[in-house]
């Protein structure tokens, strides 16, 4: 046994820190929560208006537009149908609105941070170990501060999802920017590109495939997290899984699990295909 005398805890300090944060910045967190909620409600309102067949159509058309493969597009478009068939449509929409909100916020925060990380060495120096830490941290650990800062419900779920899903988009944006071939950059500079022109005309377009791979990864991580964040009241498909576990209802859990998988496949394929469209043309 580890001697009791050597035990020391940082838990109280962490608790104190979070409590102190909440007390000192209540108005700030309230306004952040308000902001997140507004985005969430707007997106949710829109998602609810669209009829179920609208989704099937949209998935089919987007897939066809981005991949030009008929069979694959038909199969992909049929997947939302199965979610509805299982009676899980409303839950899927709920999850989707949390995902879209989180990903949107992750991109708004992550893309500029990725650019900064690629441009400024010291930022990369600080950010890299932080991102490593964020990605190796067990995902449900994020639920704790999220819950403490924002209570229960969808807002903390968005917050936790956002934090969890942020690293890939930052990392792959920076990676893509750093991978731009030197001769191309040099040519742009030789013709009088300013720093901003270099970013806008050369580095960002050339980094686009990598950036979109980051968006894809971020979205997939958000999806995984949204299921876990049902533990703090995100509802949606994750809650179905949670309820099934509690009731040891394997069949119901399976349906919910399959629905998560279908959602994942649809989102993954669509974002990947769109990413491929950005690769430089071969002719």
């Amino acid at each position: 046994m580890f001697p009791e005398a050597l035990q020391a805890h940082i838990a109280p300090a962490v608790n104190d820190f979070i409590n102190g944060l909440i007390e000192a910045y209540t108005p700030f967190f309230d306004s952040v929560a308000g902001g997140i909620l507004t985005v969430l409600i707007t997106i949710n309102d829109f998602l609810v208006i669209v009829p179920w067949w609208g989704y099937i159509l949209a998935v089919g058309i987007l897939s066809w537009y981005s991949s030009k493969k008929i069979v694959a597009s038909l199969i992909l478009a049929s997947l939302p149908y199965f979610i509805g068939m299982f009676g899980l449509w409303p839950m899927a929409i709920e999850s989707l609105s949390v995902i879209i909100t989180s990903v949107l916020l992750a991109l708004i925060i992550g893309l500029p941070m990725g650019v900064l990380m690629a441009e400024v060495k010291s930022v990369a120096f600080v950010l890299r170990p932080l991102l490593d830490g964020m990605q190796t941290m067990p995902s449900f650990v994020y639920l704790i501060p999220a819950m403490m800062l924002f209570g229960l419900g969808k807002v903390p779920a968005v917050f936790a999802t956002l934090i969890y899903a942020l690293p890939p988009v930052i990392r792959l944006t920076a990676l893509g920017l750093n991978q731009v071939p030197k001769p191309v950059e040099e040519a742009a500079l030789a013709y009088g590109a300013t720093r901003w022109q270099l970013i806008k005309e050369v580095r960002l377009p050339l980094a686009m495939p990598s950036i979109l791979a980051g968006v894809n990864q971020t979205t997939m991580m958000a999806l995984a997290m949204v299921v876990i964040s049902s533990m703090i009241g995100a509802r949606g498909l994750g809650q179905e899984v949670l309820v099934s576990i509690n009731r040891i209802d394997v069949g119901r859990g399976f349906e919910a699990g399959m629905s998560v998988v279908f959602l994942a496949i649809v989102i993954d394929r669509l974002t990947q295909n769109l990413a491929k469209k950005w690769e430089p043309p071969k002719r």
């Binding site: 001769p183 191309v184 040099e186 040519a187 742009a188 500079l189 030789a190 013709y191 009088g192 590109a193 300013t194 022109q197 005309e201 050369v202 377009p205 050339l206 686009m208 430089p280 043309p281 071969k282 002719r283």
Partner: protein
């Protein structure tokens, strides 16, 4: 500095470049005056003395060749003229303007108006069409799409790539890509053209073709051309005057004929000798190829 402002002249005075290979170390202009320090740096692994007190003048409208073995500092020198590489000390005066003293924004304006460059590795944008690659410099200058595309089309025609404007660089052969690179430079209408081994990556026939093309274009345009190569035959064909570089120093300047007739030292002599032999070999090979072509039965 009171050099007369003529369009297309390049004056380089006592130019030095010391690259640092160790992070945290940088060199200032006073370091280059300390002979023993330079010698010590030259031997150490922490720094590369890529240019040692290079001086020369290029007159308006002449084709000036820089020749030397790989690693002798040619690319460093040509990049310094645009300050793509920041010189450690020395002066560069182009069109009467002191390039070394320019601020960042002055430098951007200078690069846009005065000099266009062609690179060995083309440096084309893979996501842009051939047409938009040619118009890229004009776009950076702030010209409208319609205007720069029209000019770019004209430049493409000049380099014999009419009909290729909608393609992307990936669809083109090396020789065609370099034609795009040349068109991108010509369309800028700058008085000075910098070319860093533009044809070195191409096979001999294509190289020959592009050399002829450049000579033809140069007859019309009469630009000042600053041309880096390690190929003596190229230097002979294209150059009015040439400078030979060795370990970051210019060891001889003169017309190609002078250099061949009176090599300044052992290095130049050997260089000329090697290149002369190679020259003979390629001439033979070309002759053979020509014969082969003529001998082959015509199918069509």
């Amino acid at each position: 500095m009171d050099t007369p402002a003529s369009s297309g002249s390049i004056v380089v005075q006592d130019l030095w470049k010391i690259f640092s290979r160790k992070s945290g170390i940088s060199f200032s202009s006073s370091d280059t005056e300390d002979d023993s320090l330079v010698e010590q740096l030259d031997k150490s692994d922490d720094a590369v003395v890529a240019m040692k007190g290079v001086s020369f003048t290029v007159k308006e409208g002449e084709t000036f060749i820089i020749m030397g073995l790989s690693g002798s500092g040619k690319s460093t020198l040509i990049r310094c003229l645009l300050r793509l590489v920041e010189p450690t000390s020395g002066d560069i005066i182009v069109n009467g303007k002191n390039v070394t003293a320019m601020s960042k924004s002055e430098l951007v304006a200078f690069r846009r108006e005065n000099i266009a460059m062609v690179f060995q590795h083309y440096g084309l944008l893979p996501h842009r069409t051939v047409l938009d690659n040619v118009g890229f410099g004009l776009k950076l200058r702030g010209e409208e799409k319609e205007a720069y595309r029209k000019k770019a089309l004209g430049a493409l025609e000049m380099v014999g790539l009419k009909g290729w404007e909608k393609y992307h660089p990936a669809a083109l052969s090396g020789g065609m890509r370099q034609r795009v690179g040349i068109a991108r430079a010509l369309v800028m209408d700058a008085p000075i053209l910098l070319m860093d081994e533009p044809f070195s990556g191409l096979d001999p026939l294509i190289r020959r073709e592009l050399q002829d093309e450049m000579i033809r274009l140069q007859k019309e345009m009469k630009k000042t051309v600053f041309f880096v190569t390690h190929d003596l035959s190229e230097a002979l064909r294209m150059g009015d005057r040439m400078a030979v570089m060795k370990h970051g120093e210019i060891v001889q300047i003169g017309s190609p004929d002078e250099v061949i007739a009176n090599p300044a030292d052992e290095y130049v002599a050997r260089f000329v000798q090697d290149e002369r032999e190679q020259l003979e070999r390629t001439e033979q090979a070309l002759a053979k190829e020509k014969q082969g072509k003529e001998a082959a039965p015509h199918v069509s």
